[in-house]
């Protein structure tokens, strides 16, 4: 293990990668939504409060923020906040389903500096994508990409959550990104939010984990992953990236009502470190919360201690273990050695922790069943 990674595990003075979900409101109802988004939370941070948080992040010299939701463009002050952030020297990368990127908005986005856009797409065809992201979502995303390309935005990102249905499409995703001059980003499906209910039927199979690993070894230098596949490193040579869980150490999440969580995949009371509205604001939560301080302590390998691959995979993802009911100091549910499958078999049905909150729309219209091949 490199000395640098050891240092990073002890935490940084400010996060490298801070995700800020601006709203729980969303026009879509994706079945794997990490934040169970749908309806706006009435306690959402106001424009003035959001700007105060940005002032704090500027003081902390946070270089950029990852904005998501919900659908962040639903907020009426979306552009105001993005411009305020960029003008404060904080770059913005934001994730969107693309529904609100019409030709005018595309031109406006293209005129801004220090702004990156990720359009979510979970299938290269309508059927695969819409089964997960909802009817019509494929068209919305492709129209947004067309509009950004026509406006000369430059290399936007196409962001894919890898599921068992789209693993065979990785080459086609790459080709699609290339056709737009865009950059492909693929990330791991997490059992968080509504994903806790759908993960078991959507997550890649053990055989597919190897496919993803081989594919990333071949294409990894040109594909972004948010370092999310480090559990695959147990298969051999390490993938590009830091190869560590950054939760509370280099990464955290601010949710729409200002709650600060250890990472974007653990919106649950157990991983809530504080709120930006508390005295001392975000900085105090980051530097002094009991939760983040404990995450920066050396972690036990637990049941994985005797496994020769532990140094490579680091026991995988804390959130994936938590929401599937596995102990945090044991194998990842997608352990490539098969230990996760064994451990999952021992989890009592219904005993896994449920997400603490749900902003889903009360009635879900036209949600198609997921076809299991």
């Amino acid at each position: 293990m490199s000395a640098l990674v050891e240092q990073l595990k002890g935490g940084l003075d400010a996060p490298i990668c801070l995700t800020w979900e601006l709203t729980y409101a969303c026009n879509l109802q994706c079945v794997h939504c990490l934040s169970s988004s749908g309806q706006r939370d009435p306690r959402e941070l106001s424009t003035a409060e959001a700007k105060r948080v940005l002032d704090e992040l500027r003081e902390l010299q946070v270089f950029y923020i990852n904005i998501g939701g919900g659908e962040p463009m639903v907020r009426r002050d979306f552009f105001e906040l993005v411009e305020y952030s960029v003008n404060s020297g904080i770059g913005v990368k934001f994730s969107t389903n693309g529904a609100f990127i019409d030709t005018d908005k595309a031109r406006r986005l293209a005129s801004m500096d220090y702004l990156d856009i990720q359009i979510s797409l979970d299938g290269v065809d309508e059927a695969t994508n819409d089964a997960v992201r909802g009817a019509g979502s494929y068209r919305l995303a492709r129209t947004a990409m067309d509009n950004l390309a026509a406006a000369g935005f430059g290399p936007f990102k196409i962001s894919v959550v890898v599921t068992r249905h789209n693993v065979p499409q990785l080459d086609q995703f790459k080709a699609l990104a290339d056709s737009y001059g865009a950059q492909l980003r693929i990330t791991r499906l997490r059992p968080a939010g509504r994903g806790a209910d759908t993960w078991h039927e959507l997550h890649p199979t053990l055989g597919q984990q190897r496919e993803i690993y081989d594919w990333l070894l071949k294409h990894g230098d040109n594909v972004l992953t948010g370092d999310s596949f480090f559990h695959l490193n147990a298969l051999g040579d390490p993938l590009p990236g830091l190869n560590m869980c950054g939760a509370g150490r280099v990464v955290c999440l601010i949710d729409p009502i200002g709650d600060v969580y250890a990472c974007p995949f653990v919106i649950h009371d157990e991983f809530r470190a504080g709120n930006v509205r508390d005295e001392g604001g975000f900085a105090r939560v980051w530097k002094q919360s009991d939760l983040f301080r404990s995450l920066r302590e050396p972690q036990s390998a637990g049941a994985c201690a005797s496994c020769g691959a532990y140094d490579a995979c680091q026991g995988g993802c804390m959130a994936a273990k938590f929401f599937t009911g596995l102990p945090l100091d044991g194998p990842d549910p997608e352990c490539v050695g098969g230990e996760g499958e064994h451990a999952l078999a021992d989890v009592t049905l219904g005993s896994a922790p449920k997400p603490s909150q749900d902003h889903s729309q009360p009635v879900r219209l036209s949600r198609k069943p997921i076809a299991v091949p």
Binding site: A3, L12, D13, D113
Partner: protein
């Protein structure tokens, strides 16, 4: 390409350097690269490049002993290829 000891460098104007316990993080707002500066001496050299005539005088001023210069040339060369530092006109 390796930078020369007598070349004049500066921190790229689009780069921000944030101190950290291990050294510093450098972020380039243009190419979006995040670089770890893994030693406090590298941080002080990078921050002081523009205040001195050339790389060698910067190393001297920062108290870096000559036997360590080759490793600093390697580090600065890598930082130049990432556009964290760049040549400046004298």
């Amino acid at each position: 390409m390796a930078v020369a000891l007598d070349s004049a460098l500066e921190l790229h104007p689009q780069v921000a350097v944030r101190p950290e316990p291990f050294g510093a993080l450098a972020y380039h707002y243009g190419n979006r690269r995040l670089i770890f500066l893994k030693h406090p001496d590298v941080v002080s050299v990078v921050n002081n490049l523009a205040a001195h005539d050339c790389v060698q005088s910067t190393l001297d001023a920062c108290g870096v002993a000559p036997e360590r210069w080759p490793s600093f040339v390697t580090a600065l060369s890598s930082l130049e290829s990432s556009e964290i530092v760049r040549e400046r006109a004298r």
